[in-house]
């Protein structure tokens, strides 16, 4: 788990964002940006490959819908498998950060 955690962190952020409800790629960017208080900035170019990979793996489903502004956008939502994966990923992240924190304190 730990080895792909850093790369997996974007996926974790996506899954977590979508836990709140279906959203499109741009919406996910805004959400992560605002919730993290600007600390985490999603590299937009790598967002979409990640979304499509998650969808292909069956963690997300996607559908074209109309935004409140009347624009057509592709909305992603969590599947059951996605929720499970999110739960495991949160756990994994917690243990990883716990480990890192301990190491930092010890040093």
């Amino acid at each position: 788990m730990a080895s792909d955690s850093l790369q997996g962190s974007l996926e974790l952020l996506i899954l977590k964002t979508l836990e709140a409800g279906p959203n499109h790629g741009f919406g996910i960017t805004i959400h992560i940006d605002s919730v993290s208080g600007g600390l985490l900035r999603v590299e937009e170019g790598s967002l979409y490959p990640a979304l499509h990979r998650l969808q292909k793996d069956g963690l997300l489903s996607a559908a074209w819908e109309v935004t409140p502004n009347g624009r057509r956008a592709r909305y992603y939502s969590l599947t059951a498998a996605g929720r499970k994966k999110l739960a495991r990923a949160v756990e994994g992240w917690a243990s990883l950060s716990k480990g890192v924190n301990r190491l930092l304190r010890f040093a």
């Binding site: 499109h24 805004i30 937009e44 170019g45 790598s46 979409y48 499509h52 624009r71 956008a73 592709r74």
Partner: protein
């Protein structure tokens, strides 16, 4: 996939627009630009996103392949049958395609060949080949406006090349601009030029690549060498490109200059025959050129003697059309035959796949139940059939390379460009394309047919496939039957002479060393004497030509007149009468009976111009039932007494009817004997012994003469070599087709019996006898067969006119052949259906009903 690409693009665009909108609301100037800047490299993001899907697709194809492989391993019998059948079909088709491609489809080895034309006069005096008289050609080339280049040649002829040892090769004389006209250049050295072509210029030659590498070791030192061609020293100035051939589709080892003095070529008197070829100017169509030549042709016609004009026509063709006109039928027929075999093979594979699909319905139902879409199932099926077809293709190509070698080995000389046939990229591409096509169709058919077992379409499709196979087999067998019969008839045509124990050699005396008639006469006399003196030799003769291959001199029939009989000039030529110059021993040596009077004797040789022997047919044409002996006949300017009548012989090959002919003495006429002659030797010995004897005796007199003796029996066999080749190939394909069709019928009926086992059991339980059951199965097979045979007979009749020109002595719609073919196929079908019928009879009703 294209949907996906589009979708990703739209998704990224939506992102950029939303960002821009957000930025605009925040009051950022150049919002669009800023949005793009923040996003980074859009193309890269797009590519990365798309890769996600490509990888998925590749992975799933891998799955399909693995799945297909497993399923083939489970059914090795099916797999082997399907692959072997495809391999047979593709192998046969590929090998034949590689042979006929060069003749039928591939561009000629000339640059921009589509602009090359062949033009000339068609007249009885030169058979069915267009020619141009030298003064006409000279006139046309000066007046024409439609050609970029205009050239002429004097056709290919045998010549003697002296290089350490005498060698007989093919020569042609051409105008200096011949190579530029056909768009070629010497690969080494230089082309001919106008100076070389001036009458009296020192003779130069271009030699073929083959001769260059065989005899000069492919060395540049060949250039500038003097070679001895027919006794004349000729300087080699260049080497022809590899694969060079004359527009007549024959090879040439040496190209010499024409060196015609056109000022001496006068219309109305010159009879020098040329072949004329030209290159159209860019943008000029053939029709335009033909129109432009109308007045020139009309003018040339006025120089033709008036009574012959009706029989003379002028023609202009595209070179390619003219070339393939005479050689097209046989290759097209062979190509049609292998395509037919290929179709039969395809039908078998389709049948196999249908049966397999029927057996896999459960498996497919399960796959669909666990979420595989129709498209995915279709892809799986297509993957499997493509795999089968490509495996068949690979095996087929291997088979094709073997078959190709077999063809080249079996093929007689004279099939143009056969030796160059290879399985090159073009041919491989064709095989690949047909395998791909077959794979896609086969894969799609069972799926599109739907999953229902008892769908009426399925019941209809399999019998249609079987009937189609039988129909195609009928067509193939009919063709093979017709060709085989014509071959037999050709071989049993009475030739009019006895070809066994007879050898012949055509020799040429060098003009340089035998310039005068007396020298040639002396040579031929000595040769005759020496040969006749050998113990065991029973006949020796010389003749300027020998039957049955044509190549004789010919006299216009209306120029042959019986003295003292009114008649004068008749209308038209009346056709051509071949004649030959022979020594007294000719009739006995050839085994041609003298029907009346006598043949030539030694006394006649002292007054050679005074006697003539008529062929039976000519005697009848000239004298009817009157006695021709002692009558005086004028042939052209000669006046000769008829001393005998000889039986007719086949002169112009086997397929043409017997023509009238006459004989004169070998030393008759001012120019005779010419510097060439056939030497005939009859001896009751092995042909090899006689051939060696002939060569030794000739070279004892002059070691620089090349001698290539040949048994006359072999010469005769050559005439039927091509029909034999065609008949054997077509028979091979027909046999293959029938075999495959029989297998198809057998498999079809077997499948039917298995499907209906339960029903058969019920019927038997209800009192049907074994006979009834067998009859039921055979009736089913019979219905398919009858439909197939009927269709096949109709098809054979419809196609008959295409093979008409290949046939001899048998009508293209020969009812006997058709009836025999139909019977044969019915018998084959009966055998193929009998095995499953017996299996049906052996059904145990109790077991069949309990089953399942």
């Amino acid at each position: 996939m294209s949907d996906e690409r589009d979708e990703i693009r739209r998704e990224l665009d939506a992102h950029l627009e939303m960002r821009a909108e957000q930025l605009r609301e925040q009051g950022v100037a150049n919002a669009d630009e800023e949005a793009r800047r923040r996003f980074g490299n859009k193309a890269k993001a797009y590519e990365a996103t798309r890769q996600v899907h490509v990888r998925e697709w590749v992975e799933s194809v891998g799955q399909d392949l693995l799945y297909a492989w497993r399923s083939f391993r489970r059914t090795p019998g099916f797999t082997l049958a399907a692959v072997a059948t495809m391999a047979l079909g593709i192998g046969a088709a590929t090998s034949v395609f590689s042979v006929v491609d060069r003749i039928l489809f591939r561009p000629l080895a000339y640059a921009q060949e589509e602009r090359l034309v062949w033009l000339g006069m068609l007249a009885p005096i030169a058979g069915d080949i267009e020619f141009a008289l030298a003064p006409d050609y000279d006139d046309w080339r000066r007046k024409q406006t439609v050609f970029e280049e205009f050239t002429a040649m004097r056709g290919g002829f045998d010549c003697d090349l002296m290089l350490n040892e005498p060698l007989r090769v093919r020569c042609a004389r051409v105008e200096w601009n011949f190579l530029p006209t056909v768009g070629l250049a010497a690969r080494l050295g230089r082309n001919l030029n106008a100076d070389d072509d001036r009458p009296g210029a020192p003779p130069v030659a271009l030699i073929s690549s083959g001769l260059w590498s065989r005899r000069f070791g492919g060395s540049a030192t060949a250039l500038g060498q003097k070679i001895d061609v027919d006794g004349q020293p000729v300087e080699v100035v260049g080497v022809l490109p590899a694969g060079f051939e004359l527009p007549t589709m024959s090879n040439a080892d040496i190209l010499l200059t024409n060196q015609i003095d056109y000022s001496q070529q006068v219309r109305g008197t010159s009879t020098m025959i040329l072949r004329a070829y030209a290159r159209l100017k860019p943008g000029v169509s053939l029709a335009q050129a033909q129109a432009a030549f109308e007045p020139l042709f009309a003018d040339a016609l006025t120089y033709v003697p008036e009574r012959f004009r009706k029989e003379v026509k002028f023609r202009m063709y595209s070179l390619r059309d003219r070339q393939v006109r005479d050689t097209r039928t046989a290759p097209l027929m062979l190509l049609g035959a292998v395509l037919a075999v290929f179709l039969i093979a395809c039908a078998n594979v389709a049948n196999l796949l249908l049966a397999r699909a029927a057996g896999r319905q459960r498996e497919i139902a399960i796959r669909r139940a666990i979420g595989a879409g129709r498209a995915r199932i279709l892809r799986q099926m297509v993957t499997e059939s493509l795999l089968l077809c490509f495996a068949g293709c690979a095996l087929g190509l291997w088979l094709a390379s073997g078959l190709l070698q077999l063809f080249v080995y079996l093929a007689p000389a004279g099939i143009p460009r056969l030796a160059e046939a290879t399985l090159d990229g073009r041919v491989l591409g064709m095989s690949f394309a047909i395998s791909l096509f077959a794979g896609l169709v086969f894969g799609a058919v069972p799926v599109l047919q739907g999953p229902r077992v008892s769908s009426p379409r399925r019941v209809w499709l399999r019998p249609a496939l079987v009937a189609g196979q039988i129909a195609i087999s009928v067509v193939l067998l009919t063709g093979a039957g017709l060709l085989t019969q014509s071959l037999y008839r050709m071989q049993s045509v009475p030739l009019g002479f006895a070809p066994d124990n007879l050898v012949a050699a055509n020799i040429t005396l060098s003009r340089g060393r035998y310039p005068e008639r007396e020298r040639r006469l002396e040579f031929f006399r000595s040769l005759e004497r020496n040969l006749a003196g050998i113990p065991g030799v029973t006949g020796v003769a010389l003749a300027d030509s020998i039957p049955p291959a044509g190549g004789t001199f010919a006299m216009i029939y209306s120029n042959i007149n019986v003295e003292g009989r009114a008649g004068g000039a008749r209308e038209g030529t009346g056709g051509m009468v071949p004649h030959r110059f022979v020594t007294p021993g000719y009739f006995a040596t050839m085994g041609i009976p003298i029907l009346r009077g006598r043949g030539f004797n030694e006394d006649d040789r002292r007054q050679p111009d005074s006697v003539i022997v008529l062929g039976e047919r000519l005697a009848k044409m000239l004298f009817g039932s009157d006695d021709p002996l002692e009558k005086v006949v004028r042939t052209g300017s000669r006046r000769e007494v008829v001393i005998g009548v000889a039986a007719d012989v086949r002169n112009e090959g086997i397929k043409t009817s017997i023509s009238p002919e006459y004989y004169e003495l070998h030393n008759a006429g001012g120019a005779w004997p010419a510097n060439y002659s056939y030497v005939l030797l009859r001896a009751p010995a092995d042909a090899g012994v006689s051939e060696r004897l002939l060569r030794t005796e000739i070279q004892r007199l002059d070691s620089r003469i090349s001698v290539e003796p040949e048994a006359v029996r072999q010469r005769v066999a050559k005439l039927t070599a091509q029909p034999k080749f065609q008949a054997s190939l077509l028979s091979l394909f027909a046999a293959l087709g029938v075999l495959l069709a029989a297998v198809g019928l057998y498999a079809g009926i077997s499948y039917l019996v298995i499907q209906r086992t339960r029903e058969i059991g019920v019927r038997m339980a209800l009192g049907a006898t074994k006979g009834d059951v067998a009859a039921m199965v055979l009736r089913q097979a019979g219905r398919w067969t009858v439909v197939g045979i009927a269709l096949g007979v109709a098809g054979a009749i419809a196609l008959s006119r295409f093979v008409e020109t290949l046939l001899f002595g048998v009508p293209a719609r020969d009812p006997v052949t058709l009836a025999l073919v139909a019977l044969l196929l019915a018998a084959v079908a009966l055998v193929a259906a009998w095995v499953p019928a017996r299996r049906a009879m052996a059904v145990d009703p109790m077991e069949a009903i309990r089953h399942e």
